[in-house]
């Protein structure tokens, strides 16, 4: 598919933008944060997003979804990034990919339908190391009568607090496999993790926890697909946040005066802004190309996910540093929105591998360096 938006996609973006602007301005995220609400997302907002087909739009029609692909999910995430929308969109899209790939397209309608409708929040539990390291998989699955039990520990579980269920990776018969673990399962303990971005994270510990296996055989490809979905969507979210913070900064440069001059007239700042504009322009292409490649099942899709994640992690963090610097003192106060973008960007950069991780993944994996 071409690296421009289709008409359907443009409509989707407009619809997401309109809804989020109305229902989830940054002030609402700030209020939620200040409230100390442990769930850290807004049930009413999530319901409206689901109603409008904006939750996991990558779920195929055969599975009860709108079938607009990861491209659509990415465009929604980008819009969510603009307003820091607090809703479990990322976990929904990743879990959807994991489930669909594990059980086969068209076979997961029950589960996936409940995700798309916003009925159930299913959180992906894949990571086990503080620094993202998908090769590390020490959670073990044991056959137990008809079903399975899991024992191990997971970290960095996105939207895991008060989730209805988890998609958990574990070693089964010597190969990676995926399992569904219900919230109420015995031997499951869920620890809330309070993060700088005021989102919902947990660590899980599983001890002989009953689980339902998703699909059969080696689930490595499904796991990679899930990770790539997450990486692409986090990149899209960071693009949205970087665009927003950059636009606000440019607006501030046009109004703020120092030394009797509008600071936007200083060429030192102008050129730095021009460089960020340029990098954002290139990054926009990379993110869209990644979404397209995943939808097309291109062999490069997994590498593009790394290119996008590495590029956006570095760029979005650089944009935030400049946003703080160009806003001057006000930009580093808690009352100003820039800090909220700074913190979420740091977390999004860290999840599922940062710039360092993905640079090495490309160097060794794609280029054989």
């Amino acid at each position: 598919m071409a690296l421009v938006l289709s008409e359907d996609e443009t409509m989707l973006v407009d619809s997401a933008h309109g809804l989020l602007d109305r229902e989830a301005p940054v002030t609402s995220f700030r209020a939620l944060r200040n409230s100390g609400e442990e769930l850290a997302w807004d049930r009413s907002l999530f319901g409206k997003l689901a109603e409008n087909g904006l939750v996991a739009p990558n779920v195929a029609e055969a599975d009860g979804g709108v079938g607009m692909g990861i491209s659509a999910a990415g465009l929604v995430m980008e819009q969510a990034g603009h307003v820091l929308a607090a809703a479990p969109l990322l976990s929904a899209a990743i879990s959807a990919t994991l489930i669909a790939r594990a059980v086969g397209e068209g076979q997961g309608a029950d589960l996936l339908g409940s995700v798309v409708s916003g009925e159930r929040v299913i959180a992906p539990a894949l990571d086990e190391a503080a620094r993202h390291d998908p090769a590390r998989l020490e959670t073990r699955a044991q056959k137990s009568g008809e079903g399975w039990t899991l024992t191990g520990a997971k970290t960095a579980v996105i939207d895991g607090y008060d989730a209805d269920a988890y998609v958990v990776s574990a070693m089964a018969d010597g190969a990676p496999a995926l399992f569904l673990v219900e919230k109420a399962a015995s031997g499951l303990s869920v620890e809330r993790f309070a993060a700088v971005d005021s989102r919902n994270y947990t660590k899980l510990s599983l001890s002989g926890t009953p689980a339902k296996r998703l699909g059969e055989g080696d689930a490595s490809d499904a796991i990679t697909a899930g990770l790539d979905t997450g990486r692409a969507l986090l990149s899209a979210e960071m693009l949205g946040m970087a665009d927003e913070a950059f636009d606000r900064t440019v607006a501030y440069l046009k109004e703020r005066k120092q030394f009797d001059r509008i600071i936007g007239t200083y060429q030192g700042l102008q050129h730095r802004a021009a460089r960020l504009y340029s990098r954002l322009d290139i990054a926009r292409g990379i993110v869209l190309k990644t979404l397209r490649a995943i939808d097309e099942g291109s062999a490069d899709a997994t590498w593009l996910a790394s290119l996008a994640k590495a590029t956006m992690t570095r760029l979005a963090r650089d944009v935030m540093i400049e946003a703080m610097q160009m806003h001057g003192g006000i930009g580093v106060t808690d009352d100003h929105d820039v800090g909220l973008f700074v913190k979420r960007t740091q977390a999004a950069g860290e999840l599922l591998g940062d710039d360092h991780f993905h640079t090495e993944r490309l160097a060794a994996g794609k280029w054989g360096l």
Binding site: V4, T265, A273, A274, D281, I282, T311, A363, G368, L369
Partner: protein
């Protein structure tokens, strides 16, 4: 989601691809494939053509016969008449076998597009076929000594003598000035107009006593540029492209072209990738012992991929009529800087050997910085982006 029509188009394109592949395979001499690009390996056309080798001549003549020197230009003016998708396929297939461009020419890269957009019917009929067939070698003359990137302050003037202009002044950084037959240039024809206006885009024959060009040697040793002196040079009135006094519009259009081209071609590095070269020269083990250099290679690969995607996106945006007017500036800025970084890393891969005075590494490395200055310096690009793309104000 696919509909019938695109399917048929795709089928036609597949046919075109297989036919083109076969034709190229049969017609592009093996001796000239996969050779490093450079002045000595290109044919530049002109009144006194010089072919690097006999096989370059054969290749040029076969391509020129199909007008595949300018494959997507309209056939009514001697172009190849292919559509954009076909043009892309042809280019891909040429890259696949490492076939060189049959004709390198500023006429193709710059003047032709300007004439197709701004030229009169007469101008198109006169000049475009000659460009396509490589009969005239064109030079570009914008800059003047002291003016640098500040094109609006140029002083070369053309006095209106009724049916012709009498041109006097001096140009610098004239691309291929001392090797060309004709020059497209910016000349101040309306002395009373404000600084940014009053400039015309004028075509001047260089084979006259009033025009003299001498080469400028760059640090790489290359002499692509020259100084060109106009001393009562004559250019017929009909040789103004676009409106009189509005040469600026034509030049800006061309600069846009030039910038995208510089960014894409330089940043997007055709041929062997630096990762392949690194593995070839140092091996995986050598790179493992040099993690900093290895990482530099990886980062350059990543940035290069980004520029390539940008170029693909630009193409798609073009088809959809959604091109950002600032893409050329972005590509010029980041592409030329990336080339500087890449050529420097290429030097590192070869270590001491890279320092050879007549080596390919050193030549490429010394060619990169001039591209950050030419075509509107990168500072000019950043000024354009900050003022026009971002709307940041000017200090009064």
């Amino acid at each position: 989601m696919a509909t019938e029509a695109p399917d048929r188009a795709a089928e036609t394109l597949d046919t075109f691809r297989s036919e083109t592949r076969a034709w190229l395979e049969a017609n592009c001499p093996v001796s000239i494939r996969n050779r490093p690009r450079g002045m000595d390996t290109s044919f530049w056309g002109g009144r006194n053509p010089v072919y690097p080798t006999e096989d370059h001549k054969i290749w040029f003549e076969r391509m020129a016969e199909r007008a595949w020197t300018v494959p997507t230009w309209p056939s009514e003016y001697g172009g190849g008449g292919l559509n954009a998708a076909q043009g892309r396929v042809l280019k891909q297939e040429m890259t696949r076998i490492g076939a060189p461009d049959p004709l390198s020419s500023l006429g193709i890269m710059m003047l032709g597009p300007a004439l197709l957009k701004f030229g009169t019917e007469e101008q198109k009929r006169e000049h475009i076929p000659l460009i396509a067939q490589g009969k005239i070698r064109w030079a570009q003359g914008y800059s003047e000594p002291g003016a640098g990137s500040d094109l609006a302050s140029l002083t070369t003037r053309g006095d209106d003598k009724g049916d012709h202009f009498l041109v006097n002044g001096q140009k610098i950084w004239t691309t291929y000035g001392h090797k060309a037959d004709m020059i497209f240039t910016l000349v101040r024809t309306e002395p009373d107009a404000p600084k940014h206006q009053g400039i015309s885009f004028l075509l001047i024959d260089m084979a006259q006593p009033g025009v003299n060009a001498s080469p400028i040697k760059l640090i790489s040793g290359n002499e692509h540029f020259s100084q060109t002196f106009f001393d009562d040079a004559v250019a017929p009135m009909k040789n103004v492209v676009g409106e009189r006094g509005k040469g600026w519009d034509v030049a800006k259009y061309l600069l846009t072209f030039e910038r995208s081209m510089m960014g894409e071609s330089i940043g997007g590095a055709a041929g062997k990738t630096i990762a392949e070269t690194a593995l070839e020269r140092l091996g995986k083990e050598g790179l493992a012992r040099d993690p900093s250099l290895r990482l530099e290679v990886a980062e350059i690969m990543m940035e290069t991929w980004g520029i390539q995607i940008a170029s693909e996106r630009l193409f798609d945006q073009g088809k959809a009529g959604q091109v950002s007017p600032f893409s050329p500036n972005v590509l010029k800025l980041l592409g030329t800087e990336l080339a500087t970084r890449r050529t420097r890393a290429m030097m590192s891969l070869d270590g001491f050997e890279s320092l050879a005075v007549d080596g390919h590494d050193a030549y490429e490395w010394l060619q990169a910085p001039p591209n950050c200055i030419a075509g509107g310096s990168n500072e000019v690009q950043m000024n354009i982006l900050s003022k026009r793309a971002l709307g940041l104000p000017e200090h009064k």
